[in-house]
Amino acid sequence: MWTIVLVVAIGLLAGVLAGLFGVGGGILFVPTLTLGLGLTQLHAEATSLLAIIPTVVAGTWRQQRYGNVRWRSALILGLAAIAGVEGGVQLAESLPQATLRRLFGALMLVVAAQVAFRTLHQDGRTGKARTASTLGAAKSAPPE
């Protein structure tokens, strides 16, 4: 009983992260499905993708109304990513996983620092005026 409550709560939190940052939520879904609901890693990864769909549809629907979605870019990114997944799966079997994982982790830290650094050095330029004009421009763009 409490497990289900916890699982639902983490699902909710994953959704908030997804909506807030534009990530899928899989990072929280997968461990929740394995630890909370006892799925195997493979089933959890597959099921997480299915769970991401309602999360992303709800988030994108709201973002569309806020005028933030660039559909053409999203389509290009999504289709290219599907091709990338194929490549990744092929390579995953032939490369030392642990080393790659650490390298990617380190890269992530560098990127995090980069994002933080850029943000701290552009406070004057991304003020209210620019945000407002961007929102206005986005709203006039045709949907889909």
Partner: protein
């Protein structure tokens, strides 16, 4: 062309490490494609939708999906996403970026150890 490369990278890394594509797409849109925070994050979300649909179909053929379990996390996930996007509109770009950097930092650390 840049977007194609970003998408390829996102799919590639998500297959290798099981991280969501968004963790790759958002920073690259911010740093390389010079998107502002909200459009970057919203567009990433839409792209992930496409990736998730393709992935689900491919796993679905192998019978590895658990629709009940997906609903238990996915429906709260949808509600959370509505709250998350609403919250996002109220945060300054600067705050959003710094929080996102913190999230990346946490995931980086987790992968590193």
């Amino acid at each position: 062309v840049l977007l194609v490369l970003i998408g390829l990278a996102a799919g590639f890394f998500s297959a290798l490490f099981g991280v969501g594509g968004g963790i790759v797409i958002v920073p690259l849109l911010l740093l390389l494609a010079h998107f502002l925070q909200r459009p970057a994050m919203a567009t990433s979300l839409a792209a992930i939708g496409i990736i998730a649909v393709a992935g689900t179909i491919s796993y679905g053929f192998h019978g590895e999906l658990k629709p009940g379990a997906a609903a238990i996390v996915g429906i709260p996930g949808a509600i959370g996403a509505i709250a998350g996007t609403a919250l996002q509109q109220r945060l300054a770009n600067r705050t959003l970026s710094l929080l996102f950097a913190l999230l990346l930092f946490g995931i980086g650390l987790k992968l590193l150890v």
